[in-house]
Symmetry: C2
Subunit: 431 residues, 2 copies
């Protein structure tokens, strides 16, 4: 991504001065205040946030973002899955945009920074660039992806999977949340809440995508670095395992005659956990969701649905783990019947070397300590990496805690990440 | 419970003729139609019923029962926990009543007969006695106990435990259901829905209590008997086990660093299930309810609550089983902390020999096939047995299936049970 020749280097140096000026316009105070304003939407005890995708809280967050974007006269649009776009125009109206963004939905007991940081850092970058008066060739476009978390509607990274053509909106319309609400209705409500938005006019694929995010792990804090230059994302397999039994009276039915879905579900989870055991502790195996029917103390469970989340950075290993889930579950099940549905299949992803180098160069030029690291968590950047050169910027979070009310980050680190993002977007927007 | 002397025997025989006439007034068609009318309130797919305690459906069932009782000009009352009383007066206004009844609430996926049969059979008995014009010394009183099932609010048999003084209303007011609704509010709504009812004027303890119920087990059907003369109820222990962990990101947090509440809950359940294993299959061990927080596929569970239901007919065995739950759970828990709360403690109960003999005699006199058997399920009769001579009448249900939409019973069997109930109540009401 370099430009050849002495003239190119001179231009490059001049650009970088303008970029540095824009980066310095990033306001730590404004960025922090916006985080706190967003954290009030869906606030829960312990400084946490519960902002499910396509909920009233999600709608309120969208309205607030739109209000801030509109104050700067940026163009705003939305697409069929509810991805929200904020665009600062470039010189060349036919050029594909450079994009940045993340998500505004949270885990049911999530924190104040996961996702929303990438959205607010992107808006901060747009404003800083605007205030610095930098003209770019390409448009720079912020996107708030719909339902990254998958906490309410599964699977996760829904908005970016649709945007990049990996999935279709129709694939998800009949998905229901734990309360039985159908995504179709929640999405329609969300879109109806912002009727003033013009439909987003894709100029895809994007020229590049850079996503800022809290690390959600302990490495940056442990190493005392401000900026994480993310090299890629580990592979992931999601499954819904359903066990079908028969409900019976807990007092009268002999155990030998039962088809107890919970008893079999526990046997399956136990088997899977033993199989996934890894002395090096690199395999991530999680059962985080379980729905029991009828869920009454004196009725034998007739149906259990539980989730399986498996991750590993090595393509062959994640493949082997994923392929083992259904046969192992079938071996473990005793009196019930079984249905295993893969809900997400993401191979490990390696980010574009040029974008990674650009982010590293910007951190270096801005005098910020930095290190390369992989991402343990999935992000929308994984889907964007399939369609355009992509990278991510991590900033430290306290003790690596995330998906937890106690999730925390420092205002200065958030601002530093937004400055690197600003500089990187500008560099990419003139390519 | 016999009467001595030739005159006594003559009177006894005369009474029994009046009792037979009343028993024959039991209308199989009316009793069946009322079951079907009640089954429409909270009807679910597959012929099932979901009528949670203190819900809108419960209120609708109460209103329907009141409407039927009022048409016969029976007295109607309610107490502080919502137990609903329907009384046919006796000659002696100071005499303690003979009582009958059961419950109108159901399991979340319950059937059309569990509980409601005992209420409708009781009403049918009152009407049959009234239509036959039989005058009794004692009042005969039907009661629909509040929240027998414990499917929505735990523990079960709430109404009868309060009525008999074993528990206080105040013990239960702060209990919440799976949606967070507090019992205090649900109870207030239920009581407010029938403001016309006078407060029930206790004339307790009752002189006797007889409850009719479907067997909820396979014995009567297997043996080809119409009437089960119930000898007692097995002992029961309920616990809520809570596991407290820490929520974390499923992709980033190494398994060794997790405090995964679901992982520990599974280890505990597995340990308890192994401990409760019984080659003779008499021990009943059930985990039927499990609530996971935050219940999201990519968040490690921070909190799991699950129920333990243990039953055995032998007092020493149920005691040993119950006392082992907390120590075994403490041994099994790994990274989390634990809270074990006993929510119900019922020792095995043996019914009054006189009432059991009376029921048996009535079945015999009415020409119905009968057998003695214990109850695997708990019933409100267990609390009543602590305060007055008590017995139960079982009728067959198809394949012994209960706590299931497929629960089924035959109109003729239901009517036969109501006839035995009518005769037994009359015999007891003159003692």
């Amino acid at each position: 991504m370099g430009q050849g020749g002495a003239r190119g280097q001179r231009e490059n140096r001049m650009m970088r001065e303008a970029h540095r000026e824009a980066a310095e316009r990033v306001s730590q105070a404004r960025l922090w205040q916006r985080h706190m304003a967003m954290a009030r939407i869906g606030a829960i005890a312990g400084n946490g946030v519960n902002r499910p995708a396509l909920s009233d809280e999600d709608i309120a967050a969208r309205r607030l973002l739109i209000e801030w974007a509109r104050a700067k006269r940026f163009e705003i649009g939305v697409d069929a899955i509810g991805n929200l776009f904020v665009r600062r125009a470039g010189l060349d109206p036919t050029a594909a945009p450079v994009m940045t963004g993340s998500h505004m939905d949270s885990q049911p007991r999530g924190g104040r920074f996961d996702g929303i940081y990438g959205v607010l850092a992107g808006l901060e970058a747009l404003e800083a660039i605007d205030e610095a008066g930098v003209v770019t060739r390409r448009p720079i476009e912020l996107v708030a992806w719909t339902n990254e978390e998958g906490g309410r509607f599964q699977p996760c990274t829904m908005g970016s999977s649709v945007y990049t053509g990996a999935r279709k909106v129709e694939d998800f319309l009949d998905v229901t949340d734990n309360e039985g609400t159908v995504l179709r209705e929640a999405l329609a409500r969300t879109l109806a809440a912002t009727p003033e938005l013009r439909e987003h006019n894709f100029n895809a694929p994007a020229a590049a995508y850079v996503e800022a995010h809290i690390e959600q792990g302990p490495l940056l804090e442990q190493q005392g670095k401000t900026i994480g230059v993310v090299t890629g994302i580990q592979g992931l397999r999601w499954f819904n395992v359903e066990v079908f039994g028969k409900t019976d009276h807990a007092g009268t039915t002999p155990l030998a005659l039962r088809q107890d879905a919970l008893r079999d579900a526990i046997a399956i989870i136990d088997t899977l956990a033993r199989f996934a055991r890894d002395p090096s502790d690199v395999v991530r195996f999680t059962v985080g969701r379980m729905l029991v029917t009828p869920n009454s103390p004196n009725s034998v469970a007739s149906h259990v649905l539980f989730s399986v989340d498996l991750r590993h950075p090595d393509p062959a290993t994640i493949d082997r783990l994923g392929r083992s889930v259904e046969p192992l579950a079938r071996d473990a099940v005793r009196q019930c019947t079984l249905k295993v549905t893969p809900t997400l299949h993401d191979d490990p992803c390696v980010f574009d070397a040029g974008v990674v180098a650009e982010i590293e160069g910007c951190a270096q030029a801005l005098g910020l300590s930095h290190m390369r690291l992989p991402s343990g968590a999935s992000h929308d950047a994984m889907y964007m990496a399939r369609v355009c050169p992509t990278g991510m910027i991590f900033v430290p979070c306290e003790q690596g805690i995330s998906h937890n009310e106690a999730e925390n980050a420092k205002p200065a680190d958030l601002a530093a990440g937004a400055r690197v993002l600003t500089a990187a977007l500008l560099a990419l927007a003139d390519q």
